[in-house]
């Protein structure tokens, strides 16, 4: 096979798979550390999913409310994730995101400003103070363009120094990685194809950073693009790494529900942050009925108080529309189920009656544009219809918090961004992803570079592994008896949407596993018509096996976790269970099958747990943990008295 197949070979020190925020930031760091770096992306440079992020990037800079600091941000993040977060990641994230945002300004980013010329920050669900650095509602675009342009500037430096833009950092766009290659337990390279020509390409590199984003394409109603087929999750599993928290998927409460063809497309949370409210078909602001006990203290009880909060946040509690996403999504779900939904099966999101048309157009230009052009709705005059949409996967590659190195039995593999797990616990706060990309992208890139430095010999790619990869990649084109990949994808989406959706039940989850096993057989026999040049049917056929294994992880973990927490709601176990907070569900691959194990969560350091009230902790912790906490407080008290 290899004698007839042309394979282009490249040597790099660090290969970054993914050109979203996390990948680009990692690549910049690796290049700054002097490593020869490649960036690989399934779509064109600058089109990765990050481009779609709207609301902003959370960083406790304290520009709008000076009481904000990393401790408050840390607390909000842990609360949002229902204390299941890897505390160390949440801590690093809260501490480092301001620097990462300021750094973007030195790359040329232009955020919206406060009156005194600093970066403006906006309110967002779950954040105690205005914290999201933003550019209108196109923050992701600004982020990715800025990083893209920074890479260009590094290439210009290299051009001056070495006479070639590509000397030390090169972008391979429209190139898909299908396999990681190992030398024993060490990463040796990555194998893939150019979408344009269908030709194969082999990267030999001792360190690989995964930054491939999420898994949303396994659901029909999703805000995610075709790229989100869980490639990085699957590549990591097959290379011997582990995934955690795969049962936690975030359903964003406000996706468009009409027209049907755009169902799922996101309506940014900033609409609510800037004053928009949710109403049911009776015109009632229903969110007041859905404030859970754990959040009672921070949220307003009356409409008057909620409305005062926008102008006087220090003396009023926040409107319940700004509860974390999982709460809002469930509330909408219940309203619709109770028959109080909108005509298209959502609820109403109303900003028209609350802000002037001018202000809406200025603060939410792309939402205005999106509704005007896609739904022919003028949001300055009428309410929008919205409903939950699959948005973000909290689960991902289990990594060392400080370096982003993957756990499991593989070395030289790093992960950052949505593909990594742990940082967000059971539920991500809006705006925490963009800053996560920067903080952990930088860390993963830096540590991948020093890992490569520390090696005495470069791992070698084995010829037979390459041959096997070629064979797997060509298989769908050579079969003509199998099923159409689009049909298979639809069937997979139906299983996941119907049986592993927002609200889950034991019987349905078990059923889902049976059906996924059936799908696995069918996917193994998928066939793609046409040739190798830019053939989307073939590309999808190859992505399907990744979507499938990741879906299996989600279904298995969802069946195992007998409680409801964040992005995982079990109708048969509706309560949050302190015992389950101590457990991470870890997925690994054994041959072909997904193995699930339980693993205890790392214990929070005393000075961090000390940032919380006992009353709050009591809602999350077991009695033993609370006793430990009391002992800690008593110790500290004594130490003070001494």
């Amino acid at each position: 096979m290899t004698t007839t197949t042309r394979i282009e070979r490249h040597h790099y020190d660090v290969v970054v798979i993914g050109a979203g925020g996390a990948g680009l930031r990692a690549a910049i760091e690796a290049r700054l550390a002097g490593k020869k770096t490649a960036i690989i992306s399934k779509s064109l440079f600058g089109k990765a999913h990050t481009v779609m992020a709207e609301g902003g990037a959370a960083a406790a800079m304290g520009n709008v409310n000076s009481r904000d600091n990393w401790q408050v941000h840390f607390r909000d993040t842990m609360r949002g994730g229902k204390f299941l977060n890897n505390f160390r990641m949440a801590e690093l994230h809260a501490k480092e995101s301001p620097q990462r945002i300021w750094e973007l300004e030195t790359y040329g980013a232009l955020f919206d400003r406060t009156k005194d010329g600093k970066i403006s920050q906006r309110n967002f669900g779950g954040h105690e103070y205005p914290r999201l650095a933003h550019v209108g509602d196109r923050t992701g675009l600004e982020l990715i363009r800025t990083l893209q342009q920074k890479i260009v500037s590094l290439q210009q430096e290299d051009q001056r120094e070495f006479g070639s833009y590509d000397a030390r950092i090169r972008v391979f766009s429209e190139t898909t990685i299908t396999e990681l290659l190992l030398d024993g337990d060490r990463v040796a390279g990555a194998f893939g194809y150019y979408r344009e020509s269908g030709e194969f390409i082999l990267f030999e590199a001792p360190a690989v950073v995964l930054a491939t984003g999420g898994v949303g394409r396994s659901y029909k109603v999703t805000s995610n693009s075709w790229e989100y087929t869980g490639d990085g999750h699957a590549l990591a599993l097959r290379a011997g790494a582990t995934l955690i928290n795969m049962e936690f998927l975030q359903f964003h409460p406000t996706g468009m529900v009409w027209p049907p063809s755009v169902k799922g497309i996101l309506v940014t949370e900033s609409v609510r942050g800037d004053g928009g409210v949710l109403k049911n078909s009776e015109g009632k602001r229903f969110m007041f009925d859905y404030v859970p006990d754990v959040f009672r203290k921070q949220y307003a009880e009356t409409e008057e108080e909620a409305d005062r909060w926008y102008t006087d946040p220090d003396n009023n509690r926040r409107p319940p529309e700004l509860l974390p996403r999982d709460e809002v999504a469930r509330a909408i779900n219940s309203e619709v189920k109770a028959g109080r939904g909108s005509p298209a099966g959502g609820v109403f999101l109303d900003i028209a009656s609350r802000r002037s048309a001018d202000e809406i157009r200025r603060r939410l230009p792309s939402m205005y544009h999106q509704f005007k052009e896609l739904a022919d709705v003028d949001i300055t005059a009428e309410p929008m219809e919205v409903g939950p949409t699959c948005h973000y996967v909290m689960g991902g590659v289990e990594v060392d918090p400080d370096s982003g190195a993957a756990f499991g039995h593989v070395r030289g593999l790093f992960a950052a961004g949505e593909v990594s797990g742990g940082m967000h616990g059971s539920n991500r706060l809006g705006g925490n992803s963009l800053s996560d990309l920067l903080v952990f992208g930088k860390r993963a890139g830096g540590h991948a570079a020093s890992y490569a430095d520390g090696l005495t010999a470069r791992p070698k790619v084995a010829v037979h592994e390459v041959e096997a990869a070629v064979e797997t990649a060509l298989a769908p084109l050579q079969r003509d008896t199998g099923e159409n990949p689009y049909t298979l994808q639809q069937d997979l989406q139906a299983v996941m949407g119907d049986l592993v959706g927002i609200i889950r039940r034991e019987g349905e989850l078990a059923d889902a596993l049976v059906r996924l096993a059936e799908l696995r057989e069918r996917v193994a026999k998928v066939s793609a018509a046409g040739g190798r040049r830019y053939n989307p049917g073939w590309h999808l056929a190859l992505d399907l096996r990744n979507m499938l294994v990741v879906s299996e992880c989600t279904a298995k973990a969802a069946l195992e976790r007998q409680e409801s927490r964040g992005g995982h709601t079990r109708e048969d176990y509706p309560a949050m269970e302190p015992k389950w907070r101590q457990v991470n569900l870890v997925c690994a691959l054994d041959g072909d099958t997904v193995q699930l194990t339980r693993k205890p969560l790392p214990k929070m350091r005393p000075e961090l747990i000390g940032l919380f009230d006992r009353a709050e902790l009591a809602k999350y912790l077991t009695d033993e943990e609370l006793a430990d906490f009391d002992a800690l407080v008593a110790d500290a008290g004594e130490a003070d008295n001494r």
Partner: protein
Amino acid sequence: MSGKRQFRIWRGDESGGDLQDYMVEVNEGEVVLDVIHRLQATDAPDLACRWNCKAGKCGSCSMEINGKPRLGCMTRMSTFGDDETVTVTPLRTFPVIRDLVTDVSFNYEKARETPAFAPPADVAPGDYRMQQVDVERSQEFRKCIECFLCQTVCHVIRDHEENKQAFSGPRYFIRAAELDMHPLDARTDRKEYAQAEQGLGFCNITKCCTEVCPEHIKITDNGIIPMKERVVDRRYDPLVWLGSKIFRRGETPQTSVTTARQGSATPGSARGGLHSHAGGSHDSRAEAQAQSGVNWHREVPHPTAPAVDDRGKLPLTELTFDRAAAPSPFGDDVTFPLPPEHLNFAHPEQDNKH
């Protein structure tokens, strides 16, 4: 509204191809990209087409629909007549890879040649201070989603392969303009660069780029025309110019070489409805320039409205225009050579003379 609709889609690759007819199901509320996806799932699984966001945010799904460059995901089927045939072709200006996918690497090459943002040397991260009014002009251009529709429509390269070497295209003119207007960019030669290296001179302000931009960026009015100004001053808009004359009667004209704003506060603070131009409000070099008699900070009015006809379009040919040539990009009131007092010029020895 649902029913079968007639589509003609270009299928082929660099060696050639042709339009193929399809009858496809179309449902209420759908856009052209939905129909292409339906075709992929049914009749044509290998139909090549780029897309990502389906919401007009990524600029991947650029194609020519009934001859007009557009985003497939933002073109609603309801904008066509019920029995109208919809013809979809790849972007004409770039080489075809397959079907609707073209090789847009030209654009990335031009991006790579455009000098990057130059951070101010003496401002630490976290200390950047800029006023909203000062960043807004650049922000307009940073809305660009790099769909390259403006690039494909521009006649300078649309049918003139030979111009591609010397011409960067509207997308990169506004990149240069964005940096030119960035309050803290440390380079001062963005305009000169655009003229000398990007081929700005090829552009004769036909405004086709502005017309197709899905982000409604005023590429020509706010980007290209101010860049074309170069050392020439801003008298292309007779009304604003007249207005400012009347308003400022008795004051020293802002534009004359002698108006060194010595000792004035940062220009950003005292600005009314007018925008600063080039340099930046917190830029110490700008002060120095002002000292030497070159006032890059002179206040400029918003660019003039073009001489459009009643369809809102610029007359492109002499046939439909009331004059014997394309309209002057500088407006009709500017005569050349320019009066010396409207030039920004510092004599190299002027400081020594007095």
